[in-house]
Every structure is written in C-alpha cells, then in structure tokens.
C-alpha cells in the first residue's frame, strides 16, 4: 500500500468517524433529582444523555454520596440541581471529588435551578436557627411540585444547553416552545379539574407540598411533623387529630418515603383520608415524565376528594 493508499484509508476512517463523533458528542447532563432530569430530557431529547443521581422513590434530603456518582459528575457537561440547600448533605462532596471544572459554581455547566424560580416560598425574613427544626434557610426547596415552575425551569435549562451546544441551539429552542405549550395546556386542564376543590384544607407530613398547595389552592392547616425533620410525639399527634377533626380537614398527604403509620393513624382517627402522593418522577412505576407526575397527583387528589363529595 503506497502513500495514497494510506491516505485513502485515513480518509475512510475520518469519514466513518464523523457520524460516530456525532453520536459521542451528546451533551451529558447530570441532575441531582429526577424532576429536573425529566424536564431536561424533554428539551434535549436524543441530543442529550440525562442521568439523575437521586432515585424518584428516594428522600432527596438523604442520599448516599456513592463514589459512582463521582464518576457521573466527572464526565458531565451540565449539572442541574435543585438548590436551596435540598442536596446540601450529599452533593457538595461529590462536586469536589468530580475533578470537573465544567460543573464548578460559576461555570456554564453549573445550574442551580432555584435561581430560575421567581416565587420562592417561605423565605425566612428574620433570623432562623436549628431550634426550629431542620429548616432550609434559603426558602422552601420543593418548588418542582408547582407545574408552573416547570415552564421557567425548562427555559433556564434550554438557555444553558444553547450555550453549551450552540450547534443545536435551534433544536433546543424548538423543543422548549413545544414543551412549554404542552405544559401550559396541561396546566390549564389540571387546574380545571382541581378548581372545584379550591380552598380544601389539608395536612401534609413534611412541609414539602407548599408549592403544590399554592398552585392547587389548597390550604395547609397542619403538618404531621411538629417541626421540619422532627418526628411527632404522641401528645403532638393527639393535638393534631383534635385540630383536624375540629377543622374538618379531609386530606392528609405524605410522600412514599416518609413513614406512613403515623399520618395514616392521624387521618383515620380524625375521619380524614390518607393519601400517599408521589413527589418525584420515578416514584412509582408508570411515572416516567414530569407530565405523568402531575397526572397521577391530580388524578388521585381529585378522585379522593370527589369520593368525599358523594359521601356527603
């Protein structure tokens, strides 16, 4: 094989490697929680590779920082996280171990999604300390449970993707529009279904549904935890049962990963319904997208409150 032959072989490999490179050049997104991962998937579709560190059926406050997560972050182009101290017990140590300057604070590949949210609830305006329980000093972090926030989050993620991968900017833009339209339409539909139950008084296990309640128009009148992160004492439970009965609260809500015994007991004693509601994509089989999540939440809430109506 002469020099031409060699060049030809080189050219051949160069040619076949172009599409191969294209396949490799997917933007690698690592998300701390599944809800953000799902939105990123909607925007990036096949041009990105998305991985969520926490599982949907897991308490996002307490995730084991497994060394395998270091590998994921080491290879990531974009890190999405919830922020507001939700992941403070496990994510910082992983970012340090990742040896990846692309995802360090201030870099393009570092996106604290809470900065995209205009309406952060429960932002302390006075001095807070831990005698009030394990509170989040920057505001309530469970904002993904208001689907209207999904629109802003998608916007922020698309913005970053456009900068990280400018070649596909128009694709991301198009996907963003599509996602926002679909989500806005769904939100209208969900709101219509929830409308008859506006003003419903509910009790939740942890203070993790405030954004959802704010959207659905529910009134949270109590929590099974006396203070965030503090399990209830028997006397507190008795007090809560009395309160629920007196206020005729109809619904007690807890996520799948919180203990169910106490909230179920509280609901039963006070004549309310107890509902285990998923708060994350992947919390159950069949909840694979951000849309599925709210579909299930709205379905279950409406069906249980509707049943109550018939009984009355």
């Amino acid at each position: 094989m002469g020099i031409y032959g060699f060049v030809r072989v080189l050219a051949f490999f160069a040619l076949i490697s172009i599409p191969a490179l294209d396949v490799v050049a997917k933007v690698r997104i690592v998300s701390s929680i599944p809800n953000l991962a799902s939105i990123a998937e909607e925007i990036g579709e096949e041009r990105v590779e998305v991985k969520s560190l926490a599982k949907g059926y897991q308490d996002p406050h307490f995730v084991d920082p497994k060394p395998s997560f270091v590998l994921e972050l080491n290879r990531a182009d974009l890190l999405l996280y919830n922020g507001l101290d939700l992941e403070v017990a496990w994510l910082p140590v992983l970012i340090t171990g990742a040896r990846n300057s692309k995802i360090l604070p201030g870099a393009l590949g570092h996106l604290d999604c809470s900065t995209l949210i205009s309406n952060i609830l429960e932002m302390p305006t006075a001095r807070v300390d831990r005698s009030m329980g394990d509170i989040h000093p920057f505001g309530n972090p469970h904002y993904t449970l208001d689907p209207r926030n999904g629109i802003a989050i998608a916007e922020g993620i698309a913005e970053r993707l456009k900068q990280i991968d400018p070649n596909n900017a128009s694709f991301y833009e198009e996907r963003l529009r599509d996602f926002q339209e679909r989500l806005a339409a769904k939100i209208k539909e969900w709101e219509k279904r929830l409308a008859p139950y506006r003003g419903t008084e509910i009790v939740t296990y942890h203070k993790s549904w405030v954004y959802f309640s704010n959207w659905a128009g529910f009134k949270e009148v109590g929590y099974v935890e006396p203070k965030p992160g503090i399990p209830p004492s028997p006397s507190y439970v008795a007090e809560l049962v009395g309160k629920i009965r007196e206020m005729k609260v109809r619904l007690v809500i807890a996520e799948p990963y919180y203990p169910h015994k106490t909230p179920a007991l509280v609901a039963k004693k006070a004549g309310a319904s107890f509902l285990v509601l998923p708060s994350s994509v992947g919390a159950r089989e069949g909840i694979d997208t951000y849309f599925d999540l709210f579909e299930v939440i709205v379905d279950e809430v409406v069906s249980i409150l509707g049943r109550g109506d018939k009984n009355n």
Binding site: Q58, P65, L71, V88, L104
Partner: protein
Amino acid sequence: MGTRWFITILYTVVFTFCYAGIHEGAQGDERDELRKEIEQLRYQVEIMQRRLMELEEKSRLLEEKAKQRETKEDPGRVTAEVVSQRKEGFAQKFIGAFNPDISVVGTFAAAYFSEDEPHGRAEADPENTGINLQEIEVAFQGSVDPYFRFDSFFSIGRDGVETEEAYATTLLSLPLNLQVRAGIMRSKFGRINLQHRELQDFVTLPLPAVSFLGEHLNPVGVEFNFLIPLPWFLELSASVNSPEVEVATFDRDENANNIGRLLYIFHLSNFFELSDALSFLMGGSFATGSNGTEPGNRSNLYGIDLFAKYRPLRNNPYQELWLQSEFIYRQAEVPRGNLDDWGAYAQLVYRFAKRWNAGFRFDFVDTGDPIKLEKEKELEMEDISGFISRQHEHGEEESILGLFGREKRYAFMLTFNPTEFSRIRLQYEISDPVFEKLSHAVFLQFQYSIGPHGAHPF
C-alpha cells in the same frame, strides 16, 4: 377574604338582633313583619356573598392569565428579571460575605472503667471513670478561588489545640483525572483513618488504629489522587509526607536528608454496586517510611479495608445495615531485629429506625514479638529501649513501637440521634489483654454540632 368575613359577621349580628326582637315584641303581626325582613336580609346577604365569590374567582383567573402571558410572551426577559426580583432573605445577605463555613462539634463521654488505668486507648478516647472531654472540633472550610478549596479542622482538648487537618484540594480538571491535596491531612490509609470522630460508629477507636496509626495518621504531605478510567470507580492515591507523626510507627530518620526516608502512602479504592441497595467499597493500602529507631530503619504498614452497605430504598428508606472492617499488618525494623504486628476490627451497625442504630464491634491486635513485661507490668527500660521511637523519648509521654501481646475487645453500642446534629450513644466494652486481666467499661457519649450542614463522604 376580609370582606367576606365582615359580611358573615354582619349577617350573624343582624340575625341575632332580629331574633332577640321577636321574643321581646310579643305581637303576632310585628313578628310576621320582622320575619319577612329577616328573610329579605338573608336573601340579600346571600346574593352579596355569591357576588363576592364570583369576583374573587374572576380576579384570580385574570391574575393567572396575566402571569401565564408573561412567561409565554417573553420568557427570556422573565428569567433575567427573576434574579433581580427575588427578595433578599436573611441567609442571602451572608452569601456575598465570603466567610468560610464554620462548624463546631463537641464530643463528651461519661465513662465507667473496672480498672484504674485502662490500657490501649487513643488520645481522644475516654481516659478514666468520670466525665471526659473527647474532643472539640472546630472546622473552617471554603473555596479559595476557582482552582482550590481549603479545609481545616482543629481539635481542641484540655491540653491544647492540635491541627488535625489543614489542606487544599484542587478543583480543576487535570490530566489523568488527577486531584491533588496538599497540607496536613488524615492520610488515605484504610477507612477509619479518614473518619472524624463525628462520623465514627463507636465511642472508642478500634485497637489496630490506636496501635498502628495513633489517634490518626496525619503527616504533612502532598497527595495525588487519580481516577482510573474504568466503568467502575477506581481511585489510586499516592502521597509523599514527612515522617514526623504522633504514632511511633513512623518517625524522622537521623539521616533525614534522604528522599528515600520520607513517608510514602498508597491507597487503591474500588467501589461496586451490586444493586441499588447493596454496595461495596474495598481498598488496599501501603505505607512505608523511616521509624527513627536507628538510621536506615523502616516501618512498612499494609492494610485492607472493606465497607459494605445495604439500604433498601423502596421499602424501608430509613433502615440500613453496614459493615466496616479493616486488617492492618506492620513490619518494623528495630535495633534488635524485626517486629511483626497485626490487628483487625470488624463492626456491624444496623439502623433500625430513622433516629436509632445499634452495633457490635470486635477488634484485636496481636504480635509475633511481644515486649516482655517483667516485675509486674513495670517496663524494663533497658529491655525495650530498642523499641522506643526517638521522637517520643523527648516528649512527655513515651510511645512504644511494638506491642505487649495479644489484646481482644468486644463492644456493643446503641445510638440515638435526636436530629442529624446531636447524638447520644451508649456503649459497653469488654477488653481482654493477655498481659492484664479482663476489664469492662461503659460509656455514655454526647455529641453536638453547630454550623452549616456538612456533607458526609460515603
């Protein structure tokens, strides 16, 4: 809402007054008239209430429409504005202050020992019957710049302050996935050596760690950590350190001007996930350096560590079981020949409720060359002078390179964590050394921590 309440109150007041009037005026006609008026009033109030509700609903819908239009029409602008619009909370005011994270952990232990002078304990272990201060750890941590972060831990005891750790870590992407740490560090030798007191599962330090690593092996050095590009997590660490440490295993050589006499430490760490719930962290360590007993004398330390964790996330998210175990073997050249010592520990902890865990630990050290104790435990200094590390001859306390013989220990532990920031731990320990009689100890440990929520390593 206010208006609706007002109307309801008005309604009640009017109704009550009218009702009272009925009873006072006994005339039938008046009663009928009054009743009619009440009916009318009630009707009017009801209409007003309905109107008000309609209005409220309308304004809410309008507001929402406006909001949606905003996000839809020019989302880019909205996102940009979001940041500036956000109200400044109390905590936000401190973000810009560039203060490092400061935290303090206080560890105390009430202890009862059946012996007067319990043997084989680490510096921060409870010393005698009574209430002991184990350690007050003060930490300052933060990013230096885009290239480094700096972590420092100071251990305060009754006798003074020790710099437990103070090191910088590189944050950049370096070739070969390298990460460098430089400063005073708990060396990557096994697992327990990296665990600060608040991360340990028992009140006392396991015997092999006490005998071979001291309270902790924390020389001044530079450490290179490579992430090997394999499908699983494999990290190779190599460090070069000064051999002046608190434990007698290593010490400065008389001919210190020799690179070969420094303390070199290597660690290989593997992480496997068999399933979502079950994972293993396995490592091997090697350390070699001069021990200061005579020019050219070295100590070699070999270690194997295993950490296995079972945490079924789906069914019982707060129940977990973990096993931590290490084996350490030490070879040391001393003036009279070679020492061969080894030891191991294994601890199993079961977290059976969100705030509770219980565990069992077995630890032992043994030696092929016991230091002979003559005349009822009194050390014959001439006999063992060869074993004594030079550095520690000068200090107040003498630390001996070598072991007296086999020592076994069993510990049972029950821990209650009221929150992540406080801990109460009860421990019962039986110690069985061949050179002393069996002894018992009971501890009640209290631990409190303040400051930002520190992230725990795996």
